[in-house]
């Protein structure tokens, strides 16, 4: 098992996440695509940290914890905003959200 396999897997997951966030029109798919891209970046950080010596590799395994916490906060606020918009527009389609009228 080589280090580049992990990076290739992270690249595939990042591409699929970005494609899901940009192609799909449902707002839940957009959120899930963003979460998938964040996960791919975490995997890439951990995979690169394993190529370093001892103290630097510990740093590379701690930064994903902060990323996961920030992603949890982002999902919390994002879902609250989705509830608000869904009550206003009564639709899960992101194309209907393009007009900023209240």
């Amino acid at each position: 098992m080589q280090a580049i396999y992990v990076q290739i897997l992270a690249l595939i997951l990042l591409s699929l996440g970005i494609a899901t966030a940009l192609c799909r029109r449902n707002v839940f798919f957009v959120l899930m695509g963003v979460e998938l891209a964040l996960n791919a970046v975490n995997l890439s950080i951990v995979g690169f940290s394993k190529t370093l010596a001892d103290t630097a590799s510990v740093t590379g395994q701690i930064i994903p914890l902060f990323t996961i916490a920030v992603a949890a906060a982002e999902a919390c606020v994002g879902l609250a905003i989705i509830i608000l918009i869904f009550r206003n527009q009564d639709s899960a389609d992101v194309d209907n959200y393009s007009n900023m009228r209240g």
């Binding site: 595939i12 990042l14 940009l22 370093l52 920030v70 879902l79």
Partner: protein
């Protein structure tokens, strides 16, 4: 060799479930596929030698975030009036650009030389805790970031409560019958 077989199995599960997220129609099925992706990624973290990140991944992502997302999908019934198509004409160009960026990055990755260091640290609970909460003067100061993350989570929780509650209280359909009675 055995690690490579495990890695290939977990990677195939992760990529397949990501393709399921990309192609499914109902968001609930996509969220279940997302949970499976999270679990296989946690297995890859354990395989790479950092089991604490894998445990946090299972607890926070598969346990908390995706459960919250599934709950919101079920509450809002988000695919009820989904008459729009899954993909439109813009999706072709988005796919082409994403594939082009992925090809460029993979060319750069294949030309770079890096390998696993055999002297790397296994990121268990003890190493992570000693580094995170090292409050001595010569430490890295990660405990300050832990405090800042706690503030971020607290403010996010307060923001979500205020955002979701204000709309219910000012909803005229709910308030009006109680005033009649």
């Amino acid at each position: 060799m055995l690690a490579l077989i495990y890695f290939i199995i977990l990677a195939v599960i992760a990529v397949g479930c990501s393709l399921c997220i990309f192609f499914t129609k109902h968001p609930l099925y996509a969220s279940i596929a997302m949970v499976t992706t999270m679990l296989s990624l946690a297995g890859i973290y354990g395989l790479l030698g950092s089991p604490f990140v894998g445990a946090v991944q299972i607890m926070v992502y598969a346990g908390a975030v995706m459960t919250l997302l599934m709950f919101i999908i079920l509450v809002l019934n988000g695919s009820r009036d989904n008459t729009t198509k899954r993909f439109d004409k813009v999706s072709i160009f988005v796919l082409l650009s994403v594939i082009a960026v992925a090809c460029l990055t993979s060319i750069v990755l294949c030309h770079s030389t890096f390998a696993f260091d055999p002297a790397t640290v296994r990121g268990g609970v003890d190493v992570t805790a000693h580094t995170l909460f090292n409050v001595s003067a010569g430490g890295n100061g990660y405990y300050l970031i832990v405090l800042a993350i706690g503030l971020v989570l607290l403010s996010a929780m307060a923001t979500a409560v205020i955002l979701a509650r204000k709309r219910i209280a000012s909803d005229p359909e709910k308030v009006l019958p109680e005033e009649v009675h």
